[in-house]
Symmetry: C2
Subunit: 312 residues, 2 copies
C-alpha cells in the first residue's frame, strides 16, 4: 500500500494538467494510466485549436505536457489499469493490476473511448480495414479507397489527415451537414474529399480484409453497396466510467460523470475533469481548464488553506 | 455601423481564444480591446503553469495567441475602448470611442484590473515608486530595496521576477501564510526573499519618489516605518464590469459576471469567459477553457445547428 496526497486516474491532457497544478501546489501526486499517456489527444494527427500552438501534432503536444508534468515531479505510472476503487471512506483506496494505493483525494480524468457502429462485420474486420484512429492506421491505406464515417471534428480531422495519404476519400454522414468546424469543410472540399450525406453504414463485408460496405440512404430509403479498402469510424465517444459507477460516483443519462462548476462529483474529495465529465464542450483546451479547477479544488479540500470555502 | 456575427470584448487569453474558435467555426468575428492585446497575462513575467509550456513569458504566450487568432482571420481592434452597449434587442449594439458595431452575439472577456490598497500616498506615488506590474517597472529598481504587498500567486510571481533584479526584497502579507502555490515559497526562500507576515501597509511616504512605508502588525498591533525604494502592490483584482452592469448583465456580490456551465450570462446570446466571470479559479488555462465553451455556445446560439440545445 502506497500513500499519496492525490491520485489522478488518466494521463490525457486533463490528467497531466491536474498533475502540473497539484505538484506545483505541493501535493504528493500519482497519475495512473491504463495505456500510455496521451488519451485521445495523443492520437490526434493535427491540433490547430489549442491556444498558443497554431499547429501541433497530438503526440507532440502530449509529449510537451508529459515533460511539463514530470518537471514538477508528478509520478506517472503508465500501463497500470485501475481495477477497483473504494471512495467512500476518509482514505480513498485505488487497486490497480499491480498494487494498492490510497489518498485523501482523487481526480478522475479517464476520458472516453471510441463509440462503435455495432454493425455486422465491424468487430470481425478490426485491424483488417476497420480503424478508429487515422493517425495510428492511416499509413496502411496509401492510395487506397477509404471512407470516414461521422460528421464531427474527429471525423473531419481524420479525413483531413487521410487526404495526404490517399486521394480517394469519402466522408459518410447520417445527417445533411457536418457538425465539424466550418474550417474543416472548406479544407476538405479543396482536397476533393467527397461527402455522402444522409447515409448510414449498415454492414462491412470482405474476405481477409475489408472489401465493401453496405450503405442505406435515410432520405431515399435506398440500399447500396460500395467497394472500399478502409473504414475509419469516428462517430463519437463513450465515457470510461464503469469502475466509478460501481464506486457510487453519479453519472448522467449518457454515462458522463456529473460535476459542478468546481469539478466536484457527488462524493466530497473526488473530482473529475475532461471528456469523462458532463461538461458542455469536449476539447483539449476545455479539459485542461477543468483540470486546473479540479487540482486547485483538490488542494483546497486536502490542505484547507484559510481561503478555502467548503460550500459554494 | 459595422455588422459582425460575434463581437468579443477584451483581447486577453480568453478573448483571443474565443476568437480562434469563433473564426474556425466560420463566424465573422471582431475583437475590441481598450489597450493592447494581452490583458493581465501579457504583463506576467513568467508563466510556468500553462499546460504545454514549461516556461514562457506572458508577453511571448500572448504574442503566440494573437498570431494564432489572426491566422484564422479574427479582426483585433486594439486601443478601441467600448463606451456603451445595448444588449437587449435581437441585434446587440456596441459603441466604442471610434464607431458603432452590431452583432447577434457578444462574448465579454474584459478580465480584471489591479486592486488598489486605497491608502494615503498610493495614488500620489504611482509611477514614482508605486507599481502594480513587476514586469513593466521592475527594471527601475536594480539593486534597490523593494517590497511586494500580497500573498497570492501574483505577489509571489512578482517577488520571483524582482529577485533577478535586486536582492533586497520583502514580501509583506496580512496573513501568516501565502496563498500562492508552494513551488513559489520554496523558490523565494532560496532567493533570500524575506517574509513579513501579519502585516498591513497603512501609508506610503516620500518626496519626489517613495522613501518609506508605514506598517501595522495585525497580531502585535504595533506600527513601524520601513525605508524602501519601491512598492509593488499585488493584492488581487477587480473585475471590469461597469459598462456591462449598466447594460443589465447580472453580476455577483464581488462584481464578477455570473455565468452558468455553458458560459451564458443572464441575457441570451451574451456570454462571458475568463477572469471577469464568477468562475472558481482565475488562471490563463481556465480562461482559455471557458472561452472555448463561450465561442462554441455563441456559434450554437447564432447558427442553430441541428445538435444545438437551447435548454440545458
Amino acid at each position: 500500500m502506497e500513500n499519496f496526497d492525490l491520485i489522478i486516474i488518466g494521463a490525457g491532457p486533463a490528467g497531466l494538467t491536474a498533475g502540473i497544478y497539484a505538484k506545483r501546489s505541493g501535493l504528493n501526486t500519482l497519475i495512473l494510466e491504463e495505456k500510455l499517456a496521451g488519451g485521445e489527444a495523443g492520437v490526434t494527427p493535427l491540433v490547430e485549436n489549442y491556444p498558443g500552438f497554431e499547429a501541433i501534432s497530438g503526440p507532440e503536444l502530449i509529449e510537451r505536457m508529459v515533460k511539463h508534468c514530470r518537471k514538477f515531479g508528478a509520478q506517472i505510472n503508465e500501463l497500470e489499469p485501475v481495477v477497483s476503487l473504494d471512495l467512500e471512506g476518509k482514505k480513498r483506496f485505488v487497486r490497480t493490476e499491480k498494487t494498492d494505493y490510497n489518498a485523501p483525494a482523487i481526480i478522475i480524468a479517464t476520458g472516453t473511448r471510441y463509440r462503435l457502429l455495432n454493425i455486422p462485420g465491424e468487430k470481425e474486420f478490426q485491424g483488417k480495414g476497420v480503424s478508429y484512429c487515422a493517425l495510428c492506421d492511416g499509413a496502411f491505406f496509401k492510395d487506397k479507397s477509404v471512407i470516414v464515417v461521422g460528421g464531427g471534428n474527429s471525423a473531419a480531422e481524420s479525413a483531413r489527415y487521410l487526404s495526404s495519404i490517399t486521394s480517394n476519400i469519402k466522408l459518410i454522414h447520417r445527417k445533411s451537414q457536418l457538425r465539424a468546424e466550418e474550417a474543416y469543410l472548406t479544407y476538405l472540399k479543396d482536397q476533393n474529399v467527397q461527402f455522402i450525406w444522409n447515409t448510414e453504414v449498415k454492414q462491412i463485408k470482405g474476405g481477409n480484409t475489408v472489401k465493401s460496405v453496405v450503405l442505406w440512404n435515410n432520405k431515399s430509403k435506398e440500399t447500396s453497396e460500395m467497394e472500399i479498402d478502409g473504414v475509419f469510424i469516428q462517430i463519437g465517444e463513450v465515457p470510461i466510467t464503469k469502475i466509478f459507477e460501481r464506486a457510487n460516483i453519479a453519472i448522467d443519462e449518457r454515462g458522463y460523470i456529473i460535476v459542478d462548476s468546481r469539478q466536484r462529483t457527488n462524493i466530497p474529495g473526488v473530482f473529475a475533469a475532461g471528456d469523462v465529465t458532463n461538461g458542455p464542450v469536449k476539447q483539449i483546451g476545455t479539459a485542461t481548464g477543468q483540470a486546473i479547477v479540479a487540482a486547485t479544488e483538490a488542494f483546497g479540500y486536502i490542505k484547507r488553506p484559510y481561503y478555502y470555502k467548503e460550500k459554494d
